[in-house]
Structure formats: structure tokens, C-alpha cells
């Protein structure tokens, strides 16, 4: 019995294109991963395809995002909190901002407390106008609910950035990604309450994927800065 058309794999056990893509994206369950890895250990054909796709996925982390994708407002039913970050001026590559909620204080002592020496600047939008534009975080004061922030993290080009926020007595990962050439993070922060805001920003070197970045932060291998705004 023969196939009507040739199929793109030498044997039925070989991985399909969909399986290879999911594997390269790290989007496979533990049990399935073990099966794939066992096959990859003995199949040069599939191993080469996986290697090539992983290489391309890594390269795409620096790919320019098409303008059409960046020029539209995108609400999401999951959170209903997606918004487009559009800072004044043309110096910032516009990116979609996954909003995460953080609470910021309007404390009497104002100012920002911090640990670590990673350079961070903010652009702050209030009521549609720019309040601060690419301003060092140390100089930011008097934020209030409704303010929208965007972070610029100054670090070498081969680093990964991890941002965590303090929520309900635990650190929650808000963002993990390779640092972009303009250093702006493709996420925004919206101030939602008067409570204190705590953010941790990590810069990790020698990292090739999200999993590794997460591990490095927990192992204390990344440069770290903690902000209380």
C-alpha cells in the first residue's frame, strides 16, 4: 500500500510539523516531551528539523513587529486590560502593552526607593498627556491611579529582562523577554490603587530562553533592581 502523495517524514513515528513547532515553542506537556525527546535521540531527520526550527524561533525574538499589528487597540476578554502604549514623540517603537495592574502610592515622602543599580527610566501618561518622558525612575514622583507607565531598562544587548510584581504576598512574573534594541519593554503598567507598588527588574545574561531566565532569577544569577514606587 502506498500513499497517494509522499509525506514529509521518513517514518510514521517521526514528528509532524505541528509537533516540531510546539516542541520548539516549549508548548508540550511533560509526558509528550519525554516521548519526543526519546524519538529525537534516535532520529537524525527529526533532530535536524527541531534544531533548525529552534534556531529560527530564537532569531525571531528580534524580528520587527509589523506596524499593522501595533496600530490597533486590542481589548482582551481574558483581562480586558490590553492597551496600546503610545508615548508622545517618535523615539519609542510602539508595541502592544499587556497591562498588568500594580498599585502605586501617593506617599507624603514621595520619591522612589530602590535597591540595585540597573538603569531604568519611565514614560508616564496621564489623561492622554505625557507627564514624564523617558525620565530616570529616581525622579518620578506623585503617581496616581489611572497613570500609565512604560519602562525602559538600560542593559547590554545580549541580556534578557524579567519583570516581577508583588501581588498578594508573592512575586508574580509579568514579563520575560530578550531586551530590545531601543530598551523599551513591550508592556505597560496602569496604576490602579493607592497601595504601594513593588516591582523587581532582573537583567540576565547567558540566557537563551524563558525557562532559563526564570531559573536564573530564582537562583540569584541575574542583576536585580527592586523598586517601590
Amino acid at each position: 500500500m502506498t500513499e497517494l502523495f509522499a509525506r514529509p517524514k521518513p517514518s510514521r513515528d517521526c514528528l509532524s510539523a505541528w509537533q516540531i513547532s510546539r516542541f520548539a515553542l516549549g508548548d508540550v506537556a511533560e509526558r509528550e516531551r519525554a516521548v519526543f525527546q526519546e524519538h529525537l535521540g534516535r532520529c537524525e531527520h527529526c533532530a535536524a528539523r527541531v534544531q533548525e526550527e529552534v534556531r529560527q524561533v530564537d532569531a525571531a525574538k528580534y524580528e520587527r513587529i509589523p506596524g499593522e499589528l501595533l496600530a490597533t487597540h486590542t481589548p482582551s476578554s481574558k483581562t480586558n486590560l490590553l492597551w496600546l502604549w503610545k508615548p508622545a514623540g517618535a523615539m519609542v517603537a510602539v508595541g502592544f502593552a499587556a497591562v498588568f495592574l500594580v498599585a502605586l502610592p501617593q506617599r507624603e515622602d514621595s520619591g522612589t526607593r530602590m535597591k540595585g543599580d540597573i538603569g531604568i527610566s519611565l514614560t508616564v501618561m496621564r489623561d492622554g498627556s505625557t507627564l514624564f518622558n523617558d525620565t530616570p525612575v529616581e525622579q518620578i514622583q506623585s503617581l496616581r491611579p489611572g497613570d500609565q507607565l512604560r519602562l525602559r531598562v538600560h542593559g547590554p544587548s545580549d541580556t534578557w529582562v524579567v519583570v516581577q510584581g508583588w501581588e498578594k504576598s508573592t512575586w508574580v512574573e509579568y514579563y520575560v523577554g530578550a531586551i530590545s534594541t531601543d530598551r523599551w519593554l513591550p508592556i505597560g503598567v496602569e496604576v490602579t490603587s493607592e497601595r504601594e507598588t513593588r516591582l523587581k527588574v532582573f537583567l540576565c545574561t547567558g540566557v537563551s530562553d524563558k525557562y532559563m531566565a526564570g531559573r536564573f532569577t530564582s537562583e540569584g544569577k541575574c542583576q536585580e533592581r527592586e523598586l517601590e514606587l
Partner: protein, 166 residues
Amino acid sequence: MTFVRDMGEAYRSHITMVRGRALRILGVEAAAQDVAQETFMKLLEYRRKGISEDNTAAFLYRAATNLALNRLRDAKRRQELLEEQASHTSPSASDPTDRPALRRILGLVGREEAEIAIYYYVDGMEQEEIAELLQMERRTVGRRLERFCAKAQKLLGLSTENHSND
């Protein structure tokens, strides 16, 4: 099963998969790039309606499949694609699976059969895997694949003997 909320991140993490997927179906890089962009716009459009996909990769994979298939089903575009492939590639060297013939037939048979055939012949997915991705019965996948083969054989002027998809 992963939902990727941020559009920029969704683009950068999935563009390789989407573009590769479109290229395998269409065989022409420029057309595949167009389909890739259309696919992400589809995702954006979907989310703008207030709907969230459970699995971003699966959503994009299916959307890219359908958009690429639309091109093959458009007679004018199909002809352009086939001419483009003929002018840039040597089928015997780079396309041992006779993809031009498959592409031509994908554009001529019913959409349901063509979609299943793409997953089976272009992606090398097994029927169980196709059923899982499309959330349908494996038997339905099998039936559609059989229908595709019957139509393809007719179009190719082949005997219906000696071919199997099980």
C-alpha cells in the same frame, strides 16, 4: 496549551511557525509572508471581538492553514503561485514530494477535504493528531481523507487501487 496575551510577544514567538506553515502550503516565500501577516491580523481581529483563544499556537496554526488554503482555492492566485514556483525552483531537486501537483489538487477539492489533506500530506500529522487539533472525531478525519484521495485520484486520472491513508 498556552495563551499568549501580548501581541508583540505572540508575533515574535510564533512567526516562525506561522510563516513556515504557510510556506509549506504555498511554496512561495513572498506569499507565505503575506499569509503570516494576515494570520496575525486575524488573531488581532478575533481578540478585538472580545474573544480569547485558549491556545495561541493552535489558533494561529489553523488560521494560517485556512488563509493559505484560500489562496490555493483562488484560481487566479493558484496559477500565479504555481508559475512562481516553476520559475524559482526545480521540482525534482527541492520538491521530491511533487508538491505542485498536490497544491493544484488542494485548490480544486472541497475545503474540508483539502484542510485534512494539508495536515496529513504537508505536515505529516497522523489522523489522531489532526483530530485533536481540529477537535473532531478521528473517524471524521479518516472519512474526509478518503474523500480527498478519491477526488485526487480522479483528478490525476489514477486508479483507486493501491493507495491507503491508514
